[in-house]
């Protein structure tokens, strides 16, 4: 029996939770919005999600193979990136553009910086912004919701934020809440996104700090600026971003105070762009800018070791 015992450093118990399980939880949390997208914008929404997720996983696999790095596709983070990117695209996006965006997200934004946990910018958000610049026509063509068999060649429709900017008619709050209006395929149904967000909170995948700070700032600033508070909160990509993208671990601060600062910053930039910018929507840019500031926020809000000497 000598020397057959395992010798390892303590602790000898570990949480059963793994990166893979966390990512699976995010995928589960995104499911309601995916179903809603199919119901609102038709089966093509499912196709786009499948293309993006598939391309992301394949890009990660091939890139790691090429670089002789350890294969990490089983952590499911590439699936999450693909789903999030798809959710940020119009349902009418050409397949090849969706695939190209996925390659950019995984290879340029994630893998070139060292892979999971090392990238400084959110891959889905950054890829979306690149696509918005590269394919601005296709990326801003919105069709009206037409149910599962929506005709993607149908006439275009404006997004609620565009309508607000232009001063045209807004959908009702109920339509905003249920997602029956133009927009990116995964961002419209507030109900589904809130369900997913609550699931993430309950499963402790995310903490409340970022979403509350982000959404709260947008609501407060809308109120201060005399805009339609509920309309601002329910429109555009705010809920999707606040629950799923501003809470990305790698690209956001990891202390609670840092998360609040991050959320408030995102909210302020969103408001600046929405109310005074040229674009109707500013959520993506706000997250990208705050991603860049994250190392500084992290440094400023680092947890202070309990060195004593002060009575609390």
């Amino acid at each position: 029996m000598m020397n057959k015992l395992i010798s390892s450093v303590s602790p000898h118990f570990h949480t059963p939770r793994s990166t893979q399980m966390i990512m699976l939880d995010v995928i589960i949390a995104l499911a309601p919005a995916e179903i809603a997208a199919a119901v609102i914008f038709g089966w093509r929404a499912l196709l786009i999600v499948a293309v993006c997720a598939g391309t992301c996983v394949l890009s990660e696999f091939l890139f790691e193979k090429l670089c002789k790095r350890e294969n990490t596709i089983s952590d499911l983070s590439a699936v999450v990136t693909g789903m999030l990117l798809a959710f940020n695209l119009p349902v009418t996006i050409p397949i090849w553009q969706a695939a190209l965006g996925s390659v950019i997200a995984i290879i340029v934004v994630k893998q070139l910086f060292g892979g999971i946990g090392q990238n400084f910018a959110n891959p889905a958000i950054t890829a979306r912004i690149i696509m918005l610049v590269a394919f601005s026509g296709d990326m801003t063509t919105w069709i009206a919701p037409g149910g599962f068999f929506t005709d993607v060649n149908a006439s275009t429709s404006a997004t609620p934020l565009k309508a607000m900017t232009d001063g045209t008619d807004l959908p009702s709050y109920l339509d905003l809440f249920l997602g029956r209006h133009g927009g990116s395929l995964g961002e419209t149904c507030a109900l589904a996104l809130i369900l997913g967000g609550v699931y993430l909170l309950v499963r402790r995948v995310i903490s409340w700090h970022t979403p509350v700070a982000f959404i709260g700032t947008v609501a407060l600033m809308s109120l201060v600026c005399g805009k339609d508070v509920l309309g601002q909160v329910l429109s555009g990509g705010l809920l999707l971003a606040a629950f799923f993208m501003a809470t990305d671990y790698a690209t956001t601060p990891n202390t609670n105070l840092g998360k609040i600062i991050f959320g408030v910053g995102c909210g302020l930039i969103t408001i600046l762009i929405r109310f005074w910018g040229n674009y109707p929507e500013g959520v993506s840019y706000s997250i990208l800018i705050m991603n860049i500031l994250t190392p500084y926020i992290s440094k400023l809000t680092r947890s202070k070791p309990l060195v004593g000497g002060v009575e609390e």
Binding site: V9, H12, Y249, P305, L306, E311
Partner: protein, 436 residues
């Protein structure tokens, strides 16, 4: 402010089982280092007759502890043994005659003042029985008794599986009371706090009963949150005071003593029998009949496992102590020490190490560290050999409780990195001192 911690599985399977006494094994192996400090110096030689309680090694220097024979019989030889920190120390092997005859010289010590109390505690061979193994008497040495404001009796027992302290509280309640009385009398302390995790209702009831018999003792029921029994955590949760970095509990007026250590001291004052046996929780997924076993110090782990009905399958990993801070032993031919409170034998499923994956910056390690350290930043500073940053990050504050490693979803060896980083920092600080 609430300190962070983690919820670990309790697995207190043996809490209801009164300990059973082990038949003396044929041979015991007693290492000279079962405490923090210098190893003891053997005072017996091969062939000497010894009895239970015979002094076989004396303390070497101030921070050290004497060692006594745990069986009656004959010294087989003085061998060498590799202890957990990798150094080799002498180890006295004693063949037992199976009779367990106590030494004739065993009589209750004469204690009448602080000095004789400290001498008695010193001669008893007492060390911190909760696991740390710090010589007990050192905690009581002072020029000015007024510095002792509280005695915190550590009965948290926050490690999974271990119930030997729980059994002390249930079975040796009177000894605890006598220990408190002795500390009141000789150390002049008026304020005693017994800290217990709330997953031990019977022990809490016993201790609350005890408080009605004497003044100045409070039972502090603490949430079952690991590492509740960590010294700094316990002091904070019992008194609200933070022990300064690099300092001792005494800096905030506290003496922390493990509940079993306290009971032992009281029993020594009454009988004069030094520390020669230990109640050890024998449990783990590989163990057939988990139980608490009272065994002579120096009993082999293999003999202890036999006493617990043997193993269901060949154990894959065996620990001194609990799963959070316990040390994996190299073989079953390792003796139990003064500060061994549990032997955990894990089957291959329980012992299987999780797969390490890249850090995803989730912040779990930071948000669960009781001392608010940043293990992620420490790991980065260690990797780049950046001792200056390690100093700023206070890695030397780390008590190696294991919360960060436990909670990490990427299963990164964060405590191990902290341990290595502490070494880097120590070297850096030493070289800085020399430079001056």
């Amino acid at each position: 402010m609430k300190l962070h911690g983690i919820h670990v599985p309790h697995k207190k399977n043996t809490a209801q089982l009164p300990p059973v006494r082990l038949e003396p094994p044929k041979t015991v192996a007693i290492p000279m280092s079962m405490h923090i400090g210098r190893p003891a110096k053997p005072v017996v030689k091969r062939g000497d007759e010894v009895k239970v309680g015979t002094l076989i090694a004396e303390a070497d220097g101030y921070i050290s502890a004497p060692i006594h024979s745990s069986v009656s019989g004959k010294v087989q030889k003085i061998d060498e043994i590799t202890i957990m920190n990798g150094s080799k120390v002498p180890c006295i092997l004693i063949d037992s005659d199976g009779l367990q005859t106590p030494d004739d010289s065993i009589t209750p010590p004469e204690v009448h003042d602080l000095e004789s109390f400290i001498d008695a505690v010193k001669n008893s061979g007492s060390v911190g029985l909760g696991g740390a193994g710090f010589p007990t008497f050192v905690k009581f040495v002072t020029k000015d008794l007024s510095v002792f404001k509280y005695v915190i009796i550590n009965a948290a027992e926050c490690e999974p599986y271990i119930t030997s302290d729980t059994r002390t509280m249930l079975d040796r309640t009177d000894s605890i009371l006598r220990g408190i009385e002795a500390m009141k009398k000789y150390l002049g302390v008026k304020n005693f706090i017994i800290g217990i995790e709330n997953n031990k209702p019977e022990a809490i009831a016993k201790m609350q009963e005890l408080t009605s018999k004497t003044d100045g003792v409070t039972v502090k029921v603490l949430p079952a949150m690991y590492p509740q029994g960590g010294e700094k955590v316990l002091i904070y949760n019992c008194t609200g005071k933070i022990v300064p970095k690099g300092g001792l509990p005494l800096d905030v007026g506290a003496i922390v003593i493990n509940v079993t250590t306290l009971a032992f001291i009281a029993e020594y004052l009454q009988t004069g029998m030094p520390l020669v046996e230990k109640c050890v929780t024998v449990d783990g997924s590989a163990v057939k009949e988990p139980k608490n076993v009272i065994a002579p110090i120096g009993t082999m782990i293999g003999d202890l496992l036999e006493a617990a009905g043997g193993c269901k399958e060949e154990p894959a990993k065996v620990l001194y102590g609990g799963p959070m801070m316990g040390i994996a032993v190299p073989s079953l031919d390792s003796p139990i020490l003064k500060n061994t409170n549990a032997v955990i034998a894990m089957d291959s499923r329980e012992a299987k190490p999780p797969k390490t994956t890249p850090c995803i910056n989730c912040g779990s390690c930071i948000n669960h560290c009781p001392l608010k350290l940043d293990p992620r930043e420490i790991a980065i500073a260690y990797k780049t050999n950046d001792a200056e940053s390690l100093e700023k990050l206070c890695v030397d504050l780390c008590m190696e409780c294991g919360c960060c490693s436990y909670i990490c979803p990427a299963h990164r060896p964060l405590v191990q990195t902290n341990k290595l980083a502490k070494f880097v920092l120590r070297q850096y600080q030493n070289s800085k001192k020399e430079g001056k």
